[in-house]
Amino acid sequence: ASGKATTGATSQPAAGASSAAANTAGSGGGKVSLFVIGGKSDDPFWSAVKRGADDAAKVVKANGGNVTWLGPQNYDNLGPDAAKLILSAKSQGATAIVGADWVPEAQNEAFKAASSGGVPVFLFNAGGAEQAKNVGALTYTGSEEQLAGKAGGEFFAKNGAKNVLCVNTLPGAVNTEARCKGVAEGMSGGGGKSTQLPLPSSNFGNPTAVTQAIKSALLKDDSIDGVVTISTGDADSSAAAIEQAGAGAKIKLGTFDMNEAQLNRIKAGKQLFCIDQQPYLQGYLAVSQAYAYNAYGLLVAQNTLLTGPAIINAANVDAAISGVQAGVR
Amino acid sequence: MTQPLLRLTDVGKSFVGTNALADISLEVHAGQVLCLLGDNGAGKSTLIKILSGFHAPTCGTIEVDGQPVVFKSPRDVSAYGIATVHQFGGTFQLMSVGRSFFVGVEPTKGWGPFKRFDKRLAGEIAVREMQSLGITRVTDGKRLVGSLSGGERQALAIARAVYFGANILILDEPTAALGVKEATHVLRIIMQARAKGVAVIFVTHNVLHAMMVGDHFAVLIHGRKADDFHKGERTREQITDLMAGGEAMADLEAELAELEASAGS
């Protein structure tokens, strides 16, 4: 990666733009106005990210600044909607923007417009180091969907799985497709394979329909020995499906993200793992960095902070449970 | 004279921006037919809707059997043995004849939680009552109303009202869509109801029908009662003029006769 961001304020591009006075590094904290472009607010994963951002915001507020969370109301039009949110943040006089780059083609122009217009940009959750460089963002904090998927696939392979089903209840969405793609990549590296089970929108949000669909896929193909889901709710459905297919002994379960129910299953030996990106950290660190840069001109030395993927399995599940109970995981 | 079954005193009704009805006082007696006459838009249907509990009057009082009452809903009114055929509607395309006949007053059998709608009985009664109106082609109570002809539907609505109009029967232009035979049947039914002591309110634009069955006449012009008389107190010409909203129909009829003559020549 380039060393662009490592030297702090001096790397700030085009600092002389019109509104630069309020936006340049080291404004002292009083006028800090951070905007966070995050996911849909009723999504459990983003709920934890927001929790981290909210905690970081306490410091900002205590120093007279403020943090505003902008999220799309649904993922139906994700790229365009997110691009509009970025512009919206910029237009509200953001002193820094923290954003997820889900659909780079759609969002990068907006991010570039912000960074070249003198508003420092911090990417988190999606995009990675490469897009951070593309849009002139100072750092990237988070995991990468495909990398996380790959880690999951590799973990499956290491535990002897040969044929993993990747259940996707939001087929066609960029982030979920990347997760399944990563799993397939990881599996093929380990000599197995992974196929995707896309479930139509007429099943979304109905755990029973998801459960029964997974069950039928398992019955149909008895070579399946692993199931991975893109969200915690679907993991609950998968657990029920595996049980109803009578395949609890044979089929291993993994999921992206986590909550208490999954961790309890891991502890009880009914689930293999969760792929954790530590969403709380993504929110917390990204906002903290933006604030520190805005207020004091401080910048971490790495331009990529990976919060994941971390695999939670029986070995480290207890620590994770206490985190979940605190609402941060 | 005997106590009227229904008495209206100074009843009025306004809609937003419109004074549809004002100062209507009327008496309806058992065993008599009251003909309500008047031009288009005179307020006849509005008055009928007040008497059937469909609209609440803006002012005035209604007495049934000498007791002042406030009709809260059409359901309320049917408890007094008052039944109405409204000018349009009253039938349900996609329901069976039997179900449609008994809407809102379903006969039940069984008891307690097992009380249930007696559909067979409903169908039988509905068919029987329609046949007494001269509709002979309807023989199955399960037939859908949507498959009846316009006149048969009108007859269904009338049969229903006659059946439930224990004390007062209100008919708003019942014969408008009917052929001569069916219309005559309706007139016969009205007379039979009168003979049984039912009070009938009959709205029509047909002066002959009105004169044939009416005992008592009330004429509305622009929402007000313009005249109120008994059988034989006015000539046919006078009644026609009143029905035309007070305008002299003679001129128009003369013009018509002239046109007719010139065409006939």
Binding site: L199, S202 | D140
Partner: protein, 350 residues
């Protein structure tokens, strides 16, 4: 969105006795729906193979049908009465979050959580009914607004109370047995609930005067009112029923899956309407039957789950669903037309 119905008065020229009983069959609203259900069942029995026909395969579509059916039945009554309810999705989410928060997060006894969850559904339904009857705004718009509004309220309150949007619940064995058990390890207890609801709703629509009222209100609201039916109270009661149905499914899912998520339930909005319409209920009201709605629900569930037994790429699931919905509704329309031209042979006495 108007449906033109053309009436026919005279009987067909002649018909044998067996012809007559056939016509009696086609005359019922559920006939088209039954044929639809059989059609898709045979279709997937052929393409889905042994797994689809085995107990596990049967459980798959029965479980989905049961939950959908508990919502589709009261929604169907509403649609027969001429109204829509799009808000069921959010009502489901609200009631399941209520149960999870009250009994899971706060740890109150299950019975309290369940009662409050059902209470939320009933209240939301009554509110819909009140707004629809008081304001005369079309029910599509009112319930769309409550769909959004309740979703927002559920999200906002969950976050304020629990700081998260997904709450776990550890149901006690008694409530697990009543709402969330799997009979023979496969069949959800919801199937029994569905049967109970179907019998109750069916009895009401076919056997009691209230059924007659519902048909009349849907057929012509003004005439029904003139005939003495308390139309507003009836509609409020029906909305309360659909709110209750949605809440009941919320409770069942929360207990079955040991927790609740804010985003659950939205798929029921369209799916319940599809099940009802495929079941032969007229979208504009006044026509339909409970048996039909049950068949419509089964048809939808079989299509929804059968696809996974065919081994076809499920990318095409939505496509197949769309095609099958359209075919099923076309079938119903044909039968409704036949029903309207039904008339007995004139020779027969009534």
């Amino acid at each position: 969105m108007t449906v033109q119905i053309s009436g026919t008065a005279r009987p067909a020229a002649a018909g044998t006795s067996s012809g007559r009983s056939l016509r009696n069959l086609t005359y019922r609203p559920e006939a088209g729906a039954l044929i639809g259900t059989l059609g898709v069942f045979v279709f997937f029995a052929i393409f889905g193979g042994a797994h689809f026909l085995a107990a596990a395969g049967t459980a798959a579509w029965l479980n989905v049908a049961a939950e959908l059916g508990i919502i589709a039945l009261p929604v169907g009554l509403l649609m027969i009465a001429g109204e829509l309810d799009l808000s069921v999705g959010s009502v489901l989410a609200a009631s399941s979050m209520t149960l999870a928060i009250v009994s899971g997060y706060w740890g109150a006894p299950m019975i309290v959580g369940i009662a409050l969850a059902l209470g939320v559904g009933v209240t939301a339904g009554a509110l819909n009914g009140l707004i629809v009857t008081r304001t005369n705004v079309p029910s599509f718009v009112v319930t769309l607004a409550t769909l959004f509004g309740m979703a927002g309220l559920t999200l906002g309150l969950s976050r304020v109370i629990t700081g998260t949007t997904s709450v776990a619940l550890n149901p006690d064995p008694a409530s697990k047995a009543v709402f969330g058990t799997l009979i023979a390890g496969q069949f959800e207890v919801a199937i029994l609930w569905w049967i109970v609801v179907a019998l109750g709703v069916g009895w009401m629509l076919q056997m009691t005067k209230y059924g007659n009222w519902i048909l009349a209100v849907g057929g012509d609201k003004e005439s029904a009112r003139a005939a003495g039916i308390p139309t507003n109270r009836l509609k409020i009661a029906l909305y309360t029923g659909s709110g209750f149905g949605a809440a009941l499914v919320g409770v069942i899912q929360t207990i079955l899956y040991n927790g609740a998520q804010v985003a659950n339930g939205q798929s029921f909005v369209f799916n319940s309407i599809i099940a009802v319409v495929v079941g032969g209920v007229l979208l504009t009201g006044g026509y339909g039957s409970v048996v039909g709605v049950v068949f419509g629900t089964l048809t939808f569930a079989i299509v929804n789950q059968g696809i996974y037994y065919t081994g076809w790429n499920s990318d095409w699931a939505s496509f197949i669903l769309g095609v099958l919905i359209l075919s099923a509704v076309l079938m119903n329309n044909t039968f409704r037309r036949l029903a309207l031209s039904y008339a007995p042979r004139t020779g027969k006495k009534a």
